[in-house]
Every structure is written in structure tokens, then in C-alpha cells.
Symmetry: D2
């Protein structure tokens, strides 16, 4: 586990961009899974500015690692829509360099990844409950490959899904799909980046507490090439645990 | 997870030798941890024949991954003595190419490995109880680094230790040391090889059942570069699970 | 430059087999170009015995690096016919794991190799005149990519071609094709293996003399990952130059 | 050969910084040789701003690849002084992370590099005469390892040396030292970056003309992992040669 602590959200975003560019600039075919959501907002702004209209990165294929389909609306789901809006479209990245995981192809996703040589890197955020990708506590097991998770799995999930699809009840899907812990651990490199004081507690629990399915992200303590990038706030409870 | 099934113990040993030679022949510095015990007996016979008196492998440093000290006798412990007798001495490998983990240096073993760039590969056997290295059920947790395990941890351990030190009660140590699951998962490549019908059940349980601390080896389902080499007997209960 | 010296042809062949298996056993997609001719005869016998009917090597795609077409007879050329007879057929390797360079596709061969990620390794012999692949002195330049060489390029070439196609004048082609020095240098790893006293002189000249187009193989002094495997006879003139 | 063309010097410097950061951020020990001179001026300004006072890069060891000693003044030579002033000192990089090649240790430099696993990358400029490092036309041969070049080798060299040491004739050394073409080609990755219209001609000649010792940099056409970064001016004569 490598831990990089930056002074604030801006600098954390810049460093994650550097880690991502480090993959993109290797001159090798690269399969990279990236996260949607709010944490990477600044990351994608910086990245768009950096690579916009550059033709040098045809070696990169992008992947999402989870997807919430819009039940009624159809088309790209919540994650891919978000990635297109924040990153692919403004950066001028053609969708032919993107492989979309969705509710139709998830059962063959792991086999597909294996056929293309596996993920070289996966960039993820961390949930306040310790989740990564769509692996919330009590949804998946460490041994799970890419799976579906039913909206009915526990009561709170209905509200989460409702919020994710923008509040429209007709669009709440029966299930979402996510790469499971075992799928993600198969990636050659795993990166989690976290910002903010409200996540300082779970950072400590996930990466300095026991490895347990109750805190899904704790599994990365077991990954041979895992990097944790934090801003000072997110790192505020682990300062005494590292030198 | 890559699974290689060979027809018998002889051929399994030959294939593990090929995997080991594949590391040794890379022309890079290689840190390789290897197992003692009965399963690798034929492996080392073949390997000694292959590399005896060859000077081409100075790029390799060997490591043991657990050690049972002789309480009274002192000197090298059970594992290193076994490795010297089976492999290092007959192959003419100088101990300057071997880094011994022991009861004195185990607390700094993980930091040491990190300082030399980590293990490139670790070759292990599988216990009938699902253990790997010295990680028996109920001795270590997934999150443990290199640790000591007390002989008094549970009653059966006394008998195990007695047998390991050759039956001499005076030599039974107060504890043995082992790389923990987290330490082993840090290796770039992990390999387990298994022979014999009596292990067919645990092979199925460990690599096709749930990932659980009750079956320590199940953790390798989560390693991005894990190879399982079996003879036909050891593979007899998983035939219908693989194509 | 790594130099491995073995006591005789048998042991040299075994070591080259180990180097080849080291690539095959990496659990990654591997593009490997291999040599036809007389030097690898024992190599392929050993290898066939080792991997016959094993299904574990679907990660490997094989390539030839030069080809002499049969002008009248057509079909596979001299090199591919030879490789099929010595290795692919007896080892049970399907031609779907082989990419044949020939007189029709040579102009796009370098672009093709780039599209599949490049050659991971190329195993070659050494000619008494210092040639490698079809790069004889005065046929290609260091900067040449995959090229054709006219049979009329110099008088001796006619006899070489006649001998290569088995003596039948009607089958002597107008040109043969070969990966050029620049194409071969693009491979991630380059290996040359040499046997016999009659090549001891050129071994010294090529790898311990000046880098010069007059001795095409001298270019490998400039490759960052080059291995030279010799038997004692082939190494007899360089003993005082290495420690 | 990978070619990256940027619109101007600023953007070229930024891209070279990204390539350098890509190495630094790999989480592995990295041996990186870097260039002094005027071309990298902006590169180091950007880089200093980026990494100043960051403690995350202790995995990197820096190397110079040539050195011009001050005959009278002594101490660090021209290259290392320049690198210290432009990069190491303002970035807060301790000299314990720098390995200086100099006039005293050059005969063992290649052996030293081999002992530390070789250079992972070397970042170089290009001279108007096609030189790289201290390999000017008619000074070294392709097959040369790290060598000394006498100031008396040809008349113009005296003036070059005089200018390099700042005009003080007493400080003109009898010889300078440089990694030779063979030493540099041993690096796992080679990068040359070039700015300005006055170098557009030599860019074309070196990378699109014959491989020849008369244009030392042409040797990189033979390197399996070579990247050329140009600004639009430097690329102005090769536009029709690339797509």
C-alpha cells in the first residue's frame, strides 16, 4: 500500500491526474477503469484541459466498473452518462475507445476483461460506508465477480437508487451491476482517492482496521499494487499511524 | 486465477520447475520465496539436476516464508534446514543468495521485503486444512503481516510443532513465524501446487468456495496473478467446474 | 548483453528451451518469433516432448521472421514448412496460433506487429557470415524494416536460394523477405543461439568487434535486452574476453 | 518509434514533464538519466513547481549521462552544476538521490548501472549536428560504452569546451566523459525532445534518414522503446513523412 497525502482537494486531483497520465503515457495498450461521482469532478476538469484534442492516447481503452440503468429512459445508465458528460465528451474521446459495462453484458464482463488482457488500472472513490464501485456492505462478498445487486436487497437501497437516477421513480431499476471485489482485485493496479473530513473515519477503518466484508474497501490491504491518495482532511485520522 | 492440471506428481513437479525457471531466466533481479515440505521433493530433485553448478542465476535471491526455530538446538530452523538439504546445498547455491526469515528478524521482514522491491514470486503448497505458509485456520487474519504464532494457540498446535522439530520435546519452540496473508498477497505472483487425492476436497473448497478466513488459501482468489498447479488426483473434484 | 555458455549442443538446446518456456509460462499474451534451420533441431525435439498435447499455451502466437517462397510449388515457403515439420505439427500447435510472414504480406508486417503490441521475443540463429534472419552482409541496412531481397542481388545468392528450395531451379524465387535489422531491434527481447567451432570466429567478431553493417548481427550489441547462448565450441574464441 | 508533436515549446515541455512524472509515479525503483542544457529549461521550471517539497519520489535515482570537468576549479562539472541549479536544488532533491557520472568513475559507469538494474529511462536533447549526450559525430562509435573524449580530438572541440566551462581557458579539461551509444541503447526507454526551427533539418535526417555513425542520434531508430517529442517548429520538415 502506497499512501500519498496532498494538502487539499485541488492538489489531490492533480496528483490523481498525474497517476492517470502515467498510465496513458506508457506507450502500451492500457485498459483503465475510472470512477464517476463527485470526488473526480476536479480531476476531470484538469484532465480535459490537459489532453483535449490530443491524439496521442489511442492506446487507452476506458471502462466503467458499475452501472445503474435508467429503467424507463433507457440508453446509457447513470455512470456512463456521468463519465460522458464530465470527461469523454469535453476531452473529445470517441466512444470507440470506451467499453461500457451495462445491465446486458455484465455476466460476461470478467471473461471479456480477461480476453483483452485484464485491467491495467482501476481508479475508484471511497464511500462513507466503506464501499467501492457498487460493493456496499451486505451487497457482495469478497469472492464475487461482476454481479447484479437487487434494488430490493435492503430498504435503504431504494432511496439510493432513486437519488442516483435523479429522483424519477419510473427510472429506478430492478438492479444495478458492479464489478465485484474479486473482479476489481484482478486489476494490475488499484487506486482509491478520497477527499474531505467526513471520510477521515472510514479511511482509517478501511485501510488500518481489519480486512472484513463489513468494510468492503478493506480488501485493498491485500492488493499487491494499491495506491491511496488523500487530501489532508481525509488523512486527518491516520496521521499518527504513518511516518 | 490460472489453473494448470498435469497428469501426475512427476509432471506437476516438472511444470512447477518450468514456472520457477521462467522467473530465474528473466535476466532481472528476482526475489523468490519457496516452500519446504514433502510436496516439492521431486521439484527440487529435478531442479538440482537442471541447474547444478550453473553460474547463470546470480540474479535470484531466495526466501523462506515461515520458520519453526529449534528451541534447544538453535541454528537454522526447520524450514531453512529442509530447504538447504533438499535444494540449496545439492544445487550448489551459496547462502549469500538466500535471505532467511527467522524468529529474530520477523518483525522487520515486511519492511525488508519492501526495501528490496518486494517478492516477485512465492511458490507454496496447500495444507489439508486449507493453510498456506504457516497460516492455519484460526492462527492469523487476512490483514496480518509477518507474525508469530504461539505454540499454545490451540491444543493441536503442540503436536504439529513436535512433529515438525522431529519429535524432540526440548526443541519445541514457544512460537513459529510466518508471512501473513497480507504479506503474501503483496507478492507480484503467487503460485500454489498440490498433489494427491486427499487434497482434492480442500482444492475445491479453497479455490471454488467462498473467500473466508476459515479457509486461509481462499484469499488467493483475490490475487491478480495467481497460478494453481494440480496433478489429476488433486484436481479430481473440480473437473466439472472448469472447462 | 547476457552471455550463457553451455558445455555442448544438447545443453545449449535445453537452455534455449528454458528461455522459450520462460516466455510461454508468463501467463500473458506473448508474440514470439522463432527460427528454422539446423541449429534449433534439438531445441524443437526437446520442446515437442515437453509441451506435446498441452493446452496451456494458448497465450502464445508464433511468428517466422523471414520466408523464401517456392516459386512454382507455392503454398507455405521454406521457413514455415520447416517450422511446421520440426515444431508446430509434432507439438500439436494449431496454425491459428501462428502468424505467417510471407511474400504477399511483408510490406505491412511491421505495422501488423505494432498493432498486436510488438514481438515479445525473437529467437534467432547466427550465420557464419554474421547474418541473422535474412539479413546477410550487403543485403539490408541497419535502418531497414521488413524488406524483400532480390535473388539477383549478388551472384552467390542464387546458389543460396537454390539450396534453400531443395535444389529445384523452377522453385527459386525472385526474392525472399525478411524482417530487417530495425524490425528485429524493435522486439522487446532478442536471443541468438549458436553451436559449433566453425562459428567461434564470427561470434567473436559480431559481439566483441565493432558494430558494423558488414557484420549484421553486431547490431545486437545495441539491444537493451539481448541474450547470447553458446555451446563451448562456439564460445571457444571469446573465453579470454569474458570473466 | 513514437512521435509526439506539440504546438510550441511550452506544451512540449509540459508533455516531457508528463513523461518524466509517468516514470516517477510508478511506485517502483526508477533510475532516470536527465539532460542539462537549454532545451530542458522550461521542463525543469514546470517540474520544480510540480514536485517541490514532495516526499513521494524517493523511489527515483537521478543520473547525468555526460560530464565536462572544470580543470582548475574542480568540484561538480558543467553538467551536474547545471542540473543542480536548474532542478535538484530548487526542487529540494537531496544529492543522495543523485548518482554523478564524472571523470573519475566513468570507466566503471556501465558496470555500476548494470549492478543497479540499468537505466529505466534516459531523457536527452538533440544537437544540431545530430549528437546526443556527448556523442558528437566523429567522437564515438555505435559500439562504445561510457568513454572519454579528448578535447584535442578535432579543432572545433576546443571552442566547444571553452564555451561549456564559461570561457575560462584554465578550466578547459583535457577530456570530457559521456555514456556511449551502446550504453545509452541499454536503457529500457529512451526519450529525445527537440524544440525550434533550426533543428527541423537534423530531426528529419536523424530519424527518417539512414542509420549512420555520421548522425549519432540515428541509432535510436533501432531502440525498441524510443519516444521523440517535438514542438511544431522542430517537426516542420517531417510533416509529410508521418500521418
Amino acid at each position: 500500500m502506497r499512501i500519498i497525502i496532498e494538502k487539499d482537494y485541488e492538489q489531490m486531483s492533480k496528483t490523481v491526474m498525474d497517476l492517470l497520465l502515467a498510465k496513458m503515457y506508457t506507450n502500451k495498450k492500457m485498459n483503465i477503469a475510472i470512477t464517476a461521482g463527485s470526488t473526480p469532478k476536479r480531476l476531470y476538469e484538469l484532465l480535459v484541459e490537459e489532453i483535449k484534442n490530443k491524439s496521442d492516447f489511442t492506446n487507452v481503452t476506458y471502462y466503467n466498473f458499475d452501472e445503474i440503468p435508467f429503467k424507463k429512459k433507457g440508453g446509457y445508465g447513470v455512470t456512463m452518462t456521468n463519465l460522458k458528460n464530465m470527461y469523454f465528451d469535453p476531452a473529445g474521446i470517441s466512444m470507440e475507445h470506451v467499453h461500457a459495462l451495462d445491465e446486458k453484458n455484465y455476466t460476461t464482463h470478467d471473461a471479456y476483461l480477461e480476453s483483452v488482457g485484464g485491467l491495467d488500472a482501476i481508479f475508484m472513490g471511497l464511500g462513507k460506508d466503506g464501499h467501492f464501485c457498487g460493493n456496499l456492505p451486505n451487497t457482495t462478498k469478497f469472492g464475487d465477480l461482476t454481479s447484479k445487486v437487487e434494488t430490493s436487497i435492503f430498504p435503504r437501497m431504494y432511496d439510493i437508487m432513486k437519488s442516483e437516477v435523479g429522483g424519477n421513480e419510473e427510472d429506478i431499476p430492478d438492479f444495478y451491476v458492479t464489478m465485484g471485489p474479486r473482479s476489481v482485485m484482478n486489476a494490475k493496479e488499484t487506486i482509491i482517492f478520497v477527499s474531505g473530513k467526513e471520510k477521515a473515519g472510514i479511511v482509517k477503518e478501511a485501510f488500518f482496521g481489519p480486512v472484513s466484508e463489513n468494510v468492503p474497501s478493506s480488501v485493498f490491504q491485500l492488493h499487491p499494487n494499491f495506491t491511496l491518495v488523500l487530501d489532508a482532511d481525509a488523512a486527518s485520522e491516520i496521521k499518527d499511524l504513518i511516518d
